[in-house]
């Protein structure tokens, strides 16, 4: 396969989930900040809620690595 396509596919595999993660965190962040202002004891839940969408970016990174390795 053309190396350009492989590189583009890997870039899409990481960038699209990263954008999705960023969007999700941009919505979750203000919501948990507001919750923490009223209930500081929710800090653990807040950290988890913010960290949960990062799974998408991490799995995107793994898929991108696999694409690059398979392509090579």
């Amino acid at each position: 396969m053309n190396p350009v396509w492989i590189v583009l596919a890997a870039a899409a595999a990481i960038s699209i989930p990263a954008l999705a993660t960023a969007w999700a965190q941009s919505r979750i962040g203000p919501a948990v900040a507001a919750s923490l202002a009223e209930k500081p004891e929710l800090s653990t839940t807040a950290i988890l809620l913010v960290a949960i969408p990062e799974t998408m970016a991490i799995l995107g990174f793994v898929v991108a690595m696999l694409i690059l390795y398979r392509g090579a």
């Binding site: 653990t44 988890l48 960290a51 949960i52 799974t55 991490i58 799995l59 793994v62 690595m65 696999l66």
Partner: protein
């Protein structure tokens, strides 16, 4: 935990509650209601005392008193008997007097500080126009104006307005003050003052008021007077601070003691509501750690005599959900209880995940950080934090958690051959013993997923054990789900030819057999949970992703540092980059390590909703509700 019932003559209820407070062992519960038992309601006198004590506590807590003695060093029981009503009344008067005196002092300090601020402002003004200020008398009136610093057109605008009113019969000078404001000095004929003041009022310009003591006399000669007044203010403020200190040190120790006694009495009055009474006797029920029951019986016999009966209730008389929970772990694992307490406590009788966290959390952290240099830096920071924190504090627990994390980071750093990235390789010829994280990405991914598989399977096994303790049907379902996860893993490994190919068909057949068992036992939701379990395993890929990101950042820091022309600039840049990477390398593994535990691992077995064990005891500083467990009973 043992559920106990205390029975005794009604007149001894207060003595028993005081003894329970001294031992700090019993978590009081509501007694089983019966026709003969009545609840105690506070008498009018007790209700009044409660209100007075609450007011006393409020008064004392409003004072800037020291936090009190170290909680760990605080005595478990008061050194002398409980205070009487007269003593509480005396303390209340002291607290009230101290509060009033402090309020007066604080008000006076506020006034003097406000005057000092005005004085400083005026001093700046006089200094700025020293050469222009009139020396008193004469036919000219001076105005001292303060304008907003950011409004650069304020002085020209004012000049224009004055020209329209006075023609050329005025003088206006502007100057920037060190405070960032703009000052203006305006001199006008005395005959025009009425018109000028009207104009200034309409234009909203703020005239600087003269400080006390310099209202009269020449402004040009005011500087020495201002300096003298400022020195006087400084002396007065120092005197007030000394007064305040003396007041607090004179009343502080008594009021700290009074607060403890009042809180103790409030706890005791609150505990009375848990008692059930008959015309002649009382009943108290509660929870005590099984190992401490004999100690409690001896203490009650010693303090209240033989008329108090301590009876252990049979297991059939209470349900596990009612029992409070206390985490009991070996010293090495105890700091990790802080992480377990960040989520709701587990139900009584279920598995405490702390020991598993104590092993896996530092391991995941070490795998992600995996660098000897960063590990040593973290160990030093943990040592400093440990030395500077108090025993039993959260900071001490954090230091004790960071210690094992640093040890794992160093151990994995040796395995990966990393010392601040590739510096170890370049300087000391350090070589990877296990794998090279910079190049062997797929093996690292395989390692991360394999560790995830072990962790998730461990969670499923713990879930099976939890279910086996009381829900046989659920246990069968959990067992089938666990078997299916194992069969899926075998089938995948056989398909990828990691295991012999001949394993594939038996694994698939076993999967097909286990599937209906799982659905029958756990319901239709079970297949979805199975998929979620498999995706949980993949979630551990983050260990590889964060580990790779960490090593890449370190390598980039080293290369960028080397690419600068000057040695000093290069080293500084490299240090800065490593510092950023280190901070990220501490936070990201901590957050993701916690997430892997709370979401992926706990989700397989953890049963939250346990009630914290809060025995009746003496109040300790820093506690707002009820006391924590007494020493030695964790």
């Amino acid at each position: 935990m043992s559920r106990i019932r205390l029975l005794g003559p009604r007149e001894q209820l207060d003595a028993v509650l005081a003894a329970l407070q001294d031992t700090g062992l019993v978590h009081l519960a509501e007694p089983k209601s019966g026709e003969l038992l009545q609840r105690i309601s506070l008498s009018e006198g007790e209700a009044r005392q409660t209100r007075h004590l609450q007011a006393l506590v409020r008064d004392i807590e409003g004072l800037p008193l020291p936090a009190g003695p170290d909680r760990a060093a605080a005595p478990e029981a008061p050194a002398r008997g409980p205070p009487d009503t007269g003593e509480f009344a005396r303390w209340a008067r002291s607290a009230n007097r101290a509060r009033r005196q402090l309020t007066r002092l604080d008000r006076r300090v506020h006034e003097l500080e406000s005057e000092r601020a005005d004085l400083a402002r005026f001093e700046q003004f006089v200094t700025a126009f020293r050469g222009l200020l009139p020396n008193g008398g004469g036919r000219m009136q001076s105005y001292h104006l303060i304008l907003r610093g950011e409004d650069t057109q304020a002085v020209p605008r004012l000049r224009g307005a004055l020209s329209a009113v006075l023609g050329e019969h005025f003088a206006l000078e502007g100057a920037d003050l060190p405070s960032g404001e703009r000052a203006a000095l305006l001199l006008v004929p005395t005959a025009e003052t009425a018109r000028v003041e009207r104009m200034l009022a309409q234009s909203g310009v703020h005239e600087l008021s003269l400080p006390a003591g310099v209202e009269s006399g020449s402004l040009g000669m005011a500087l020495p007077a201002l300096a003298e007044r400022r020195e006087k203010l400084d002396r007065d403020l120092a005197e007030l601070a000394r007064h305040r200190e003396e007041l607090l040190s004179a009343e502080g120790p008594t009021l700290v003691l009074a607060r403890s006694a009042a809180q103790d009495r409030l706890l005791e009055l609150g505990a009375r509501e848990h008692a059930g009474i008959t015309p002649r006797s009382f009943v108290l029920e509660g929870w005590v750690p099984a190992a401490a029951k004999d100690r409690l019986t001896r203490a009650l016999a010693r303090q209240c005599g033989a008329s108090i009966v301590v009876e252990e209730m049979s297991r059939e008389e209470w349900r596990g959900e009612e029992a409070p929970v206390v985490l009991t772990n070996p010293r090495l694992f105890r700091p990790f209880e802080t992480l377990t307490r960040m989520v709701p406590l587990p139900h009584y009788g279920t598995i405490d995940p702390t020991p598993f966290m104590a092993v896996f959390f530092p391991m995941f952290f070490g795998l992600m950080m995996g660098d000897v240099g960063y590990g040593i830096t973290l160990a030093v920071l943990a040592g400093v934090l440990h030395a500077r924190s108090r025993r039993g504090s959260v900071a001490r627990a954090v230091a004790e958690i960071l210690g094992p994390c640093a040890a794992f980071a160093i151990a994995f750093g040796i395995g990966f051959g990393e010392f601040f990235g590739d510096l170890g390789r370049r300087w000391f010829g350090l070589r990877p013993l296990v794998l090279d994280r910079e190049k062997a990405l797929l093996p690292f991914l395989g390692l991360a997923v394999a560790i995830g598989f072990v962790h998730v399977v461990l969670g499923l096994v713990l879930g099976l054990i939890n279910a086996g303790r009381g829900h046989p049907r659920q246990a069968v379902g959990r067992g089938a789900a666990l078997a299916m996860v194992l069969f899926v893993a075998v089938a995948l490994l056989a398909g990828l030819q990691v295991l012999p190919r001949s394993f594939f068909t038996p694994a698939v057949i076993a999967l097909l057999l286990a599937f209906p068992v799982m659905v029958i036992a756990e319901g239709i939701i079970a297949p979805i949970e199975l998929l979620s379990t498999l995706s949980s395993v993949l979630s551990y890929a983050r260990i590889m992703a964060l580990g790779t990101a960490s090593v890449m950042m370190a390598v980039v820091a080293n290369r960028l540092a080397g690419s600068f022309g000057g040695v000093v600039v290069g080293v500084l840049f490299g240090l800065l980059f490593h510092l950023v990477n280190f901070v990220l390398g501490v936070f990201a593994p901590a957050i993701h390590g916690l997430r892997l535990h709370y979401v992926e691992f706990f989700g397989k077995f953890y049963s939250p909703g346990g009630q914290q064990y809060r025995p009746l005891g003496h109040w300790r500083p820093g506690e707002t509700e009820q006391p924590l467990p007494a020493k030695g009973i964790t």
